[in-house]
Amino acid sequence: MDFHERQLERQSFSQRSLLVASLLLIFIVVILFRTFSLQISNFTEFDEASLNNRTYSVPVQPLRGEILDRNGEVISENIATFDLVTTPRDIKDVDAFIEKIEKIIDLDKDEIDLYIKNFNSKAFFNRELVLKKNLSEIEIARFEVRGFEHKEAFVGKRFRRISRYDEILSHVLGYTGGARENNLDEQNRFRSNSWRDAVFSYANGLIEGKAGLEKTYNQSLTGTFGIKQFEVDARGRLVKELSYTPPINGENILTTLDIDAQKVAANQLGKRKGSIVVVDVETGGIVAIYSYPTFSVNKMANGISQLDYEDLINDPDKPFFDRSVAGRYPPASTIKPLVGIHALNRGQISWTTKIDDPGFFELPEDGRIFRSWGEIAHGLINLNQALIRSSNTFFFNLAYNSGINELADDFEKFGFGSTVCVDCILEDGGLVPRPQWKMNNLNFGWFKGDTVNIGVGQGYISATPIQLAHYTAALANKGIKKPLFLNNSLSGKVPSSEIELENFNQRDWRLLHKAMESVVESDYGTARRIRDQKDFLIAAKTGTGEIISLDSREEYERIREDQGLRDHAIIVAFAPAEKPKYAVSVIIENGESGGSVAGPVALSILKELLKE
């Protein structure tokens, strides 16, 4: 190469290397720009992503609030037991593990099956699983001695939801059961997968109210979940705890219930199907509410065998069915005071108006006969006597001479046909029938006879025990209607209203109360059986709810053979009559006689409540 060529070559090299160098420079600029965009412009986004990567918030379960009766006695509580808790993550071979544990602690087959089933579906990460609940002291001691051998299991304090009155408060109290995670995280504080690592306080894990008060007030009972924040690695393993916000336990609920009255109610009803509702007349608070047959809320909340559960579900008497709030019964003669009020208010009759009762009522239109119970002729009687003796003919007459819509209006004023309790669950509104209802549902026109039947609380009309108690309280309050409730904090907050009755004055109310007192006190009263067993006055009205309509006593004797077709015994009562404190409704299915069967039940409860 000569000098010129060498110069040329040098020049070419410089140009070419400058070209490559510029390429590198472009590279550097692009990389700088990109890094700037990642680290400066989009810092917040990536910072959050990195935080999300490394932190993991686990919910810490609070304890549910307790439920108390009106005197502060606990009726639903959290009982701590010592359970054998395991950490499936550390267990490599379940069968070998169970075999090992079985040598120290007795396990029955159900426990093992349940454990293995849950183990296979939940044995990820840090989740714990209870192998055996409620260890005895001996079992704990036996385990603790060998505890160092079992790093995958420990004895932990876990709570259970327990009621000391699990069978007598079943329907009103309700029970808890497994909860869906998203129900418990309304503020979206946790990632969905963090629930499987939740720190449990209850042996059953996440729970929520499934029925009754536990459900109605689930939110305030539940409390607020605490947060345990962990640092996690890429495999989701917990590295260390970063922070801990303790849970806030749920609020206690003071109810209006009186456990002593409830016990008497349950005792009195015994093994008879039916319902008892007791209301505090002054406030509207429900003092006792009982429905039989019943079930154990403790079993429902803490494990019931499949067999027992199927028995409950398939029981023809429907133990889960809360008769008190959802049972539809004919109010029968207990509706008569209301029919009387109706007739007096519209000026149809006065207290002195007398109507002849030959023992039956003949419908003028078609001569159809409506019979009185027992076909007893009472002769010429006024409203007072008609109420005391529970004359059907008298009220057939009143209904006949009124109209169905007018009657229905007044029935509804007293709460029939709609729910009356503010915080009850699955409450039924009963039925106040009108011609339109019949046309829509039965595809038939309204007959005058339908109205006549309703005059004695039979026919299409139906009411729930709680409606009857509510109605009785309104009668006791002389027309002041108060919605019923269970949570004592609602006391005084639920607005009461005066039922509009233009021509029904305080004197009428006094006379009505007097007549209802005489139902018990008079020699002719249908509830005279309970007259001499007390030291206060009771105002009451009995009823006998017919299940099928019959034409004669002979016919009834025939169908009586079938217990399920016997009449329902009903009584509504309030006491003390002069200054009412409690109103009660008792329905005993197929109990036949309101006065002599339901009457003593009502009496016992009122005596318990009014004892000094």
């Binding site: 160098a21 590279f27 990389i31 700088l32 890094t35 990642l38 990536f46 992503a49 990195s50 990567n53």
Partner: protein
């Protein structure tokens, strides 16, 4: 008797700093694993000794021995392929006295050396025959590494050869035709020559969210690590992405993400400044080298080094597909580190020795 030590202070300081920062970051990336860091430190010390040693002889010695060096390296590469242990499905190591040695790294040095010595006295522009011979050697070296398999290193070796060829005066026409051909055949390459996982990586680059826990994971986590470093970084040893194992391959391919997470944009700027300084200095040395051979060698070395750095960075910040290319001075690996020191030693030798008898 050594009368004079041949040393370029800028390069010496630059690479020493890079190597020290590299060990520092590796210490964090390896969760403070002292054995890894100790080993790497020994390589740094060995590297510096090697650097000083190869700086001393006159560069002509490299020219004269370059065919032998290339041949020797290729023999080692094949020994590794046929007799070496298989690690992670690849045969690229030779085990000696408890140390693993990766001869393919040395091809980045011996191939440019050889090509420069082959081309330094050829007329401009390089004719077809010379081009063909050069490409033959480039392909041989590339394939010997590609079959191991090690696409990343192979591409880098090929690049080092092509850079020398280009700098030596490859005809523009040939270059234009080659680029056009590659563009035309790229669909064929995509469909027939690329492995499915390689196609995945390219797809992932454009749409990492399509498979966030699979092929997209690495790049997503790397971006989160870099982005969450912010301006000042999370602090040394405090990178959560790094230490909680969200970031993959922290000691090798993704070590830049560790630095970016813990030292932030400031750290990235400092790193780029260090690299750029070394590149600028060697660029200056290349242009002012004493003869064509030295120019070509220094140019080939330094641009390969530059592209190596830039490709790694572009990869971890999600600009190009993940190809598996370590970051010089940072990624764990002795042979790679030693070959870099070797390279800078030769550069020093070439830039410090005057030519006494000009041709």
């Amino acid at each position: 008797m050594i009368k004079k030590i041949y040393l370029d202070p800028y390069i010496f300081i630059g690479i020493s700093l890079l190597a020290m920062v590299g060990v520092l970051i590796l210490f964090s990336a390896s969760e403070g694993d002292t054995t890894i860091v100790f080993k790497q430190s020994i390589y740094v010390v060995l590297g510096l000794i090697l650097f000083l040693f190869v700086s001393q002889p006159d560069p002509d010695i490299y020219r004269r021995f370059s065919p032998l060096i290339l041949f020797g390296t290729l023999v080692l590469v094949f020994i590794a392929y046929f007799f070496g242990p298989e690690i992670n499905g690849a045969r690229r190591w030779i085990r000696l006295f408890g140390f693993s040695f990766q001869p393919s790294e040395l091809l980045k040095i011996s191939l440019p050396l050889f090509l420069a010595s082959f081309l330094f006295d050829k007329k401009l522009p390089i004719n077809a025959k010379q081009t063909a011979i050069s490409i033959f050697f480039i392909l041989t070296c590339f394939l010997s590494v590609y079959i191991q398999p090690d696409l990343g290193t192979g591409l880098l070796i090929a690049a080092s050869g092509f850079l020398v060829l280009f700098l030596a005066g490859l005809s523009w026409i040939f270059l234009g035709i080659t680029i056009a051909a590659i563009l035309i055949f790229s669909p064929f390459i995509w469909n027939n020559l690329l492995e499915p996982f390689q196609r995945d990586r390219i797809w992932t680059l454009f749409n990492p969210e399509s498979d966030p826990y699979g092929s997209g994971w690495n790049i997503i986590q790397s971006k989160i690590a870099i982005g969450s470093g912010g301006f000042f970084g999370k602090g040394y040893g405090e990178g959560s992405q790094t230490h909680l194992n969200f970031l993959p391959e922290t000691q090798t391919d993704f070590i830049f993400s560790v630095l970016a997470e813990e030292f932030g944009f400031i750290g990235v700027l400092l790193l780029l400044f260090l690299y750029a300084s070394v590149l600028l200095r060697t660029f200056y040395l290349a242009v002012n080298a004493r003869d064509r051979f030295c120019r070509l060698v220094i140019g080939g070395f330094i641009f390969t080094f530059g592209f190596n750095v830039m490709i790694n960075l572009a990869m971890v910040i999600g600009l190009i597909p993940v190809v598996g290319m370590p970051l010089p001075f940072f990624s764990r690996g002795g042979t790679s580190l030693l070959s870099i020191f070797l390279m800078f030693g030769i550069i020093t030798s070439m830039s410090t020795h005057k030519k006494f008898i000009p041709k």
